[in-house]
Symmetry: C2
DNA sequence: GGCGACCATTGACCTGAGTCAATTCTACCT
DNA sequence: AGGTAGAATTGACTCAGGTCAATGGTCGCC
């Protein structure tokens, strides 16, 4: 790992309050690598050798079973993945591939567990991050169980709009539609139809450009729920 | 809390390696209560005032949104719930009600967070428990996304059979069928039909008694996956 | 013992979503 | 500019699962 990258990493929430000693020790065995898009990083079932931190780009977590594949989550800077497996020295439950060209920090599990033991501040950051990931999955699970496809898409669009700081109600979809469909638990065909269903509610689609011309009516349909849709809650 | 209950609690994985001092401090503000069945304990959206540990009985975690309700998980002795909300001082994401008459330990959030800060052994147990809960939800989420209703039911039956130590392939359903249906993400009517679909695979139902007379063939249908169905992985 | 409430089951029907196939669109490559 | 591969869309069809309604079963309670 190049020392010029260190300051950037040092400031991440996960490492910010760590002692200098633990940080240096951990970074001595860490790798910071840039991967092209669509590269498989890990496979479910493998022992958790590394903790991953996304520094740039975007990583897709997915899983396979019964002959099917589904996108489980997308990880953006500066999220981690597979923290629970690393801490309990278990196997990965999900596979991961880069969705775009991405810069990723790899921390050997053993080192993470040692730092966790030795550095209380780090331990606290880890618990915060773990709780955050946990709650994020619970929200996804709730969304899938309690909403129809159209409601899921509507809420997703409202969320992307909220998170794009533009006031114009226009934004880019962060992933291609195939990935978005899998993330929402549907087929690309059905996503396409869901967009059509939302047309009367002011959802205008042009490639990956979305414009929401009638927020009020879209919200009535979507019934957004902070306990599902707000990242921070 | 009665002091006669203390030894039992002291031996739980979560508290076993805690220092005597921290344990006593935490227990001084704890409640151990027995609740009748079908009693609401907490509601999603409320601030996380307590961490809950199920000592006896069974607690159902459920959520509501968009006019629907779904069972998210069942908690058995000696599982905890709402740990992530307590640690991050957030609101509950799920509601909880007793499914049977249950003995539950209530630990004030503030006390848990203090013990977490002051007692490293406890902090480690907490992280283990949190990771375990996290991975359990990921498995549920995978199951829901990757399996049909019938596959879900088949795997659930195989699991209950595995966990009942009887060699006879006969066991009791742990909850009533309504709850099981909601847990598996379907209606009671459809659960009933799913049982019928499984009849040719040796699934014999008599009220809440289940007998599996052809494990081989059921497994071929279910395609069990350790990364979804094994609690310990 | 009989009543009532609730759960479970079954059937008929409907709807949402997946599948398959054909077509269009887009981006990229030469 | 033309060609190609992959993505997105559309239509027709199928199927899984939900809804509604009727019936049967079980349990607790008076």
């Amino acid at each position: 790992m190049r020392s010029s990258d260190l300051p950037q990493v040092r400031l991440l929430p996960l490492f910010k309050s760590m002692s200098d000693a633990s940080f240096e020790e951990l970074m001595q065995v860490a790798y910071l690598q840039t991967f092209p898009a669509q590269l498989d990083l890990i496979h479910e079932g493998e022992p958790a050798d590394f903790l991953y931190v996304v520094i740039e780009g975007c990583v897709e977590l997915y899983a396979r079973s019964n002959g099917r594949e589904a996108t489980m989550a997308m990880v953006h800077p500066f999220g981690t993945f597979i923290l629970a497996a690393v801490l309990t020295d278990a196997v990965y439950l999900m596979s991961a591939r880069t969705s775009a060209r991405s810069k990723v920090l790899l921390l050997p599990s053993q080192g993470v567990r040692e730092a966790f033991q030795n550095d209380d501040a780090f331990a606290r950051s880890v618990v915060t991050e773990l709780s955050f990931c946990y709650r994020a999955v619970v929200k996804e699970y709730k969304s899938l169980k309690l909403r129809t496809s159209v409601e899921q898409l509507a809420n997703r669009l409202l969320r992307y709009n909220r998170e794009s700081d533009s006031k114009s109600c226009t934004f880019e979809l962060p992933y291609d539609k195939k990935t978005l469909a899998s993330l929402l638990g549907m087929t690309p065909e059905n996503l396409s139809r869901a967009f059509n269903t939302l047309k009367p509610y002011g959802v205008e689609v042009n490639g990956s450009q979305i414009h929401l011309s009638d927020l009020k009516s879209l919200e009535i349909l979507a019934k957004p729920n902070p306990l599902i849709d707000e990242r921070s809650k």
